[in-house]
Amino acid sequence: AVKQLKKRQPKKTNDLPHPNKLPGIFDDIHVSEGRQVCRRHELYVSFQDLGWLDWVIAPQGYSAFYCEGECAFPLDSCMNATNHAILQSLVHLMKPEAVPKACCAPTKLSATSVLYYDSNNNVILKKHRNMVVKSCGCH
């Protein structure tokens, strides 16, 4: 093997410079050739609108994020994609029947807690791990 001059490589990570995790009703929107690329969407569930504030103490609502969009090659430069997803997207181009596209799925999840009364007036604080989608990407 030919020994090449080594450049100092930045720390390897799947998080690209601008991970798709901006808050708000819509995260950053990327549209490529009429197709929506993989991104995070928000669907706010209001406990107030559901008429549940007599038993749910906190929070007043919940941001139910989800991931939706296409993982089509070439993957968007801002996209949070695994190396395997990049390869899979390439192979899919060559053998679309044999290899499916990479999936748009959560890349980072966090916990959320709900505080509520039960029918005996006891108060319950329930922590749901891996519940809130923090960012989406191609897997």
Partner: protein, 250 residues
């Protein structure tokens, strides 16, 4: 860009569409299922029209502390909460159901008894810790520098003709002039009650001086059910899921 507008409008109309009654009920069912509830709880209003508030206030503080910890974890800061709280999947507070006093109108020793209904505990979770919390006012009737020994027992067996069998759970020493919430470790009792629910005979609290003289808990400043709503005794239990919950396909 027409494709941008199309996709944006599509997403907006999806988000702004009002849910039909059926969809709303389905969404409610789905959220209740995630919370592990068979149906929507119906908390009862107390006689005064308001719910007891010491436990909800404590739990709300805990909720905010946990939320802060989750934010800090995202920023890779050290968790500020204790290990038990950080590792808990569920925390439940229990309202005191029954309170019996043997106060100054009875013979010594004086005591206070409390009972909590632990039948509604979540399935598939194990108790990691349990606390009994009671508020103590400054004792004005005796020397404020005097040391008080406050002990909490699990009632193991009751008899009609003799004293109950008791098991010591926790003991605290403090000055008669001290004021604030006292926290007793009652993990052993809650574990016994979960294994055998009909053995839940409650907790008994005694107050003694250095020389072993029994003191009426009320006159030592310990508040019971007749105290202000924000200072009523309650129990908190911390649970950890023994396994990942299996979700039914819907």
């Amino acid at each position: 860009n027409s494709s941008f507008l199309r996709s944006h409008l599509h997403a907006s109309s999806f988000l702004q569409r009002r849910l039909s009654g059926r969809e709303k009920r389905e969404m409610q069912r789905e959220i209740l299922s995630i919370l592990g509830l068979p149906g929507r709880p119906r908390p009862k209003a107390s006689a005064g029209g308001k719910l007891p508030s010491s436990a909800p206030l404590f739990m709300l503080d805990l909720y905010h502390a946990m939320a802060r910890e989750e934010e800090d974890e995202e920023e890779d800061q050290a968790p500020p909460l204790g290990r038990v709280i950080s590792r808990a999947d569920t925390v439940m507070s229990f309202v005191n159901m029954v309170e019996h006093d043997r106060d100054i109108f009875y013979q010594k020793p004086y005591w206070k008894e409390f009972r909590f209904d632990l039948t509604q505990i979540p399935t598939g979770e194990s108790v990691t810790a349990a606390e009994f919390r009671i508020y103590k006012l400054r004792s004005f009737t005796r020397d404020v520098n005097k040391t008080l020994h406050i002990s909490i027992y699990e009632i193991m067996k009751e008899y009609s003709n003799r004293e109950s069998d008791l098991f010591l759970l926790d003991l605290q020493e403090l000055q008669a002039g001290a004021e604030g919430w006292l926290v007793f470790d009652v993990t052993a009792a809650s574990n016994h009650w979960l294994v055998n629910r009909k053995h839940n005979l409650g907790l008994r609290l005694y107050v003694e001086t250095d020389d072993g003289q029994s003191i009426d808990p009320g006159s030592a400043g310990l508040l019971g059910r007749r105290g202000p709503r924000s200072k009523q005794p309650f129990m908190v239990t911390f649970f950890r899921a023994s396994q990942n919950p299996v979700r039914v396909t819907r």
